[in-house]
Point group: C2
Chain length 311, copies 2
Amino acid sequence: MTLKILFAAEPALWPEYETLLLAAFADAGLKCDLRCDFEDPAEVDYIVYAPNSGLQDFSPFTGARAVLNLWAGVEALVGNETLTQPLARMVDSGLSEGMTEWVTGHVLRHHLGMDAHIHGLKGEWIFNPPPLARDRPVGILGLGELGQAAAAALTSLNFPVTGWSRRPKDVEGITCLHGDDGLKETLKRSQILVILLPLTGDTENLMDAGAFALLPKGAVVINPARGAIIDDDDLLAALDRGHLSHATLDVFRTEPLPPAHPFWAHSKITVTPHIASQTRANSASAVIAENVRRSEAGEELLHLVDRRAGY
Amino acid sequence: MTLKILFAAEPALWPEYETLLLAAFADAGLKCDLRCDFEDPAEVDYIVYAPNSGLQDFSPFTGARAVLNLWAGVEALVGNETLTQPLARMVDSGLSEGMTEWVTGHVLRHHLGMDAHIHGLKGEWIFNPPPLARDRPVGILGLGELGQAAAAALTSLNFPVTGWSRRPKDVEGITCLHGDDGLKETLKRSQILVILLPLTGDTENLMDAGAFALLPKGAVVINPARGAIIDDDDLLAALDRGHLSHATLDVFRTEPLPPAHPFWAHSKITVTPHIASQTRANSASAVIAENVRRSEAGEELLHLVDRRAGY
């Protein structure tokens, strides 16, 4: 049987994914008809999906057995009531590697006080060596795939890492805290805080004035997760009153970040344009093909989303 | 017997080292009289030394059994003909940790193209994600303690690392090359080159016009070793003709780097004021005490310098 697979993502991704997905399906022993459009939605077997596609109404796809998301974040999908099919999010090694590199780079940048050197000391030999990483406590909010990968990289550089998750977790080499009290304690001890949480009803605006106030004076906030986890105005206030020394943000409530947004011009904010991590077509195609194979074999999907938890 | 130990380093270091060295000697079971000055040089048993001290003539110290350097670099000492005592260089974990953090941070900075974001995109959402580290070849010149520590950190982040040393070495997880041909091959494949060589007659001006020309177009050079390994004028020329994209330098022929030196104002050069790595008094004191204990017990000194090799 030939499986009908709809590719519903922005058209710019099609040329690269067409080749790689077809190769991955063939490798998985699947015969697939992969297209950007099918005349009859009811005959589609699987939907490869990115939230920036035009597709929002899943109800015509009555025969679809799963929606396979190309992104890690599914917050734009879990509230969609037309989506009744199983939903899998993307976990690929490229996504996690890219995130770890971006997080480790920006943690080291702030740890080493690099900005002063990159802006230039203008002839002044200001000898002000940083402490060792072992004396720089780092906090990570979120201990999913990405949080754990970042924690491993940072502990291998000797940073003492405290990781926080909603539910209790046990991750080797780091201090794991959970729940409301655990969150407060994690914030209190984090000179550098990295946010790697999914966006859910529980995490929206989690980082508000109260949370920023718990961080040590001079702390740095790094957010490559989702913009809405941070209350923008509260962040600006915490920077302006000098409590936080810097924020490095890769994600925003509106993307692209509008040119007039105050984050762009703020001297204590670094904006990176959602580059920390993206799905790599090569490894992602293999994950998609594996999930189609599993579904056809009656096995459980990888990275199946729990709609109630929101991720 | 009480050992007479001369502390010959810049006076600013004395308060911190006095306490820590005395504690380390006591821990090693040694009874020591530690001072910055002894009336009779001939009665001094050991010299704890930093090249920025006033002491240059070692000939009056006729009873000294070793000179224990506080720094990793000994190039200012190996040519000193008055120094006939055994000389040990400093290898301490703090030195190596600090260097690894600085090197990893600046490699990731260049890899991620951070400077554009730190300088600010001024409202322009330029989506230009970096490749993964696994597609960014890094070269390390020098595979001593510091080179090997940097290599381990970079390979754990998936950078493919080629390491070069004068003599053949075998280091797990990296490609090891040696000799003149190995140097050429290392340069040819290094998009980011990290210099961690000792300064010797062989390595002075090793990085000249010919060496820079072998690097791929757009390569970045990172030097936290010694300034004189690089030919300053050749580096400026390679940057100005656009062959190299950036140089990040922590060390210079003259330190502090004179305010009028062209490196300060060059848009493609980042100057850091010799902060990449320094001896940490705590761990260094333990290394010094261990070497005094070894010497008194007739054991071989740790990190003994080979005067002919120059390190």
